[in-house]
Subunit: 200 residues, 2 copies
């Protein structure tokens, strides 16, 4: 077993959702774990000077057509949420609140949040909405709602964002394998190829 | 034989170059021709509000690493040109000068320009430099240099850019198959899948 893959994503990103449904399976085939790392892309856009894709003329229309098409190809459920873009602050903090004590459950929580938002179209903007998803995994709603207000949790999310920027993350999903970066759900094929061949 | 694919690109785009080395082969396997349509992405950025990728912090560094890696995967020659970004005005006009009278040779010229710039790292910014590439295909250098100054040719390039915008092109390479749009060299797999299955 070699080092885990890093998988950076923002819960607001539909391409992050699509990649999230495949990344564990791909890594597992090559004996690797995946470290899920939710971040707020908005903080990164401040450095990169990019704009959210949905706010870009022409490109936003493409995305609205491409995301459902991509989901059909992967055969994963997709319901466009009524309210986008999601401000995923509470969801990110909930993850980083849970992760130090129970990384496996935090991973399951992230997958459940992604499924609720993009698979079922539910809003998960508030701590209460995130807690509703979390209770189905046996996580205490009141603990989570208190947890996301913890200054240490807020610091952790900031530190994760800083590390992502330092590691070159400028968009999501963003995957690193032994220092090699791959950006975008459409690079999952190259990620798998890299793992299979050990680089090229 | 059904309708040809549309393949929009800018000679300045290395991902356009990478896609150009594969698109004909993919289309041919499914009995399709490809209509190569060089445009100036700068004109489209004025509408989309995007910035050239190389000018974006973080993303530019990724590109400098990703392009050679992608080229190695496809096993195509790549030499980073000393001078980027290329302003491909003369190259585009040369294509649209030749295309009405000899579309097959225009296609070959575009491939030769791409190879010279990204395969060999040569500068092809001026009409004289483009003509040097063209003469190897039996095209008259003096005819080409005069042709790119023809007002009808300038109009044609503007009309092509306008049509690209109308058809939703916001980046390159951009491929349309029977009205379905695919953006990016990393979507060649989906392009092939779409042709093989007739959609999904």
């Amino acid at each position: 077993m070699t080092a885990p893959l890093d998988f950076w994503f923002d819960f607001a990103s539909p391409y992050g959702y699509l990649a999230s449904t495949r990344i564990d399976g791909i890594a597992t085939r090559y004996g690797r774990a995946v470290r899920w790392r939710p971040i707020l892309l908005g903080a990164i856009f401040k450095v990169s000077g990019m704009k959210p894709v949905m706010e870009q003329p022409l490109r936003g229309e493409y995305l609205a057509h491409d995301v459902p098409r991509f989901a059909r190809l992967l055969e994963v459920p997709l319901t466009m949420p009524a309210k986008v873009p999601l401000h995923a602050l509470a969801a990110c903090r909930a993850y980083w609140w849970l992760e130090p004590s129970d990384p496996v459950k935090a991973h399951a929580l992230a997958a459940a949040i992604y499924h609720a938002h993009w698979g079922e179209g539910r809003d998960v903007a508030t701590a209460e909405q995130v807690a509703e998803v979390a209770t189905s995994l046996g996580i205490s709603a009141s603990d989570l709602i208190a947890g996301v207000q913890d200054p240490l949790v807020k610091d952790r999310l900031r530190a994760e964002t800083d590390e992502a920027i330092r590691r070159g993350v400028f968009g999501v999903p963003f995957i690193q394998i032994d220092g090699e970066s791959f950006w975008g759900a459409d690079r999952l094929g190259q990620v798998e190829e890299w793992l299979a061949r050990g680089g090229w």
